[in-house]
Symmetry: C2
Subunit: 137 residues, 2 copies
DNA sequence: CTTTGTGCAAATTCTTTGCACCAAA
DNA sequence: TTTGGTGCAAAGAATTTGCACAAAG
């Protein structure tokens, strides 16, 4: 994913593509690790020395408002962000703290009898445990 | 649910049933609203005037360690607690902030091809949107 | 020019920690 | 009398807010 692709993507959501915003989106597109605000800030800071954490927060909140990214509440400590807005599950390793993508959700997950009582805008399926790598250590 | 039932329940998990702990467990058993720490504290404070929020935190963390309650990460702002440790989904209303129980999860939700790469200890299926009551207002 | 975006510092909120006192075994 | 529990005050960490300056249309 290039800077220009991130730029175009933002325009699709009617988000004015400032340098900061485009950099944040480019980062999310290239790092499917569901980064925290701090990780994004630390990664972009060297390239944009004036960048502030406030701007990263502002930017991500704007992206969420516009539907361009999804916020994951999988990690109790920090919010995590995902530019992949398709329906897929996540795994959180309690040992290393990494969040990994799992498969797309089966449509049957959404076939819930009570659903007529709710207007559902998003779904999160989160698995918790230990990943392969942490298990052998 | 009576105080004595909560008392017995704690003993099953090898948790020493102090007055504070038993009161917190009794509250969780009688209020299936997935309360926050603050809600629990506010509710019990009149009955136990010396109660501190620290004790509520200590107590809930102990319950989680012992497997007697489940922590929900559905709400970005506050941790929520559920004495029902069975596999069931939750709905979070973005309008009123209430968390309601949905059905038990279908076993097929757990049949994920990548699961051999992970040791899964818990699962959370969370729906977000607007509830019936908020929709009509 | 006029609106929008950025970023510093301060404020807020949630949660944990250190420590002294209290209670139970 | 020794271990474990409670609760105050303080510390820590994540996020938001107020505001002045900068940038873009």
């Amino acid at each position: 994913m290039t800077y220009m692709q991130a730029h175009r993507y933002l325009m699709q959501f009617a988000i004015r593509p400032s340098v900061q915003r485009t950099a944040v989106m480019e980062y999310l597109m290239n790092h499917k690790t569901h980064p925290t605000v701090d990780e994004i800030y630390m990664a972009l800071s060297p390239g944009i020395p004036t960048l502030s954490k406030t701007t990263v927060y502002n930017t991500l909140n704007l992206f969420i408002d516009k539907g361009a990214v999804q916020m994951l509440t999988i990690d109790e400590k920090n919010a995590r962000y995902d530019a992949d807005t398709s329906r897929h599950a996540h795994f959180y390793c309690n040992s290393c703290g990494k969040v990994t993508d799992l498969m797309e959700l089966k449509p049957t997950v959404y076939e819930l009898p009570e659903m007529k009582d709710y207007t559902v805008s998003s779904v999160q399926l989160s698995f918790y445990g230990t990943c392969k790598n942490c298990r052998k250590n």
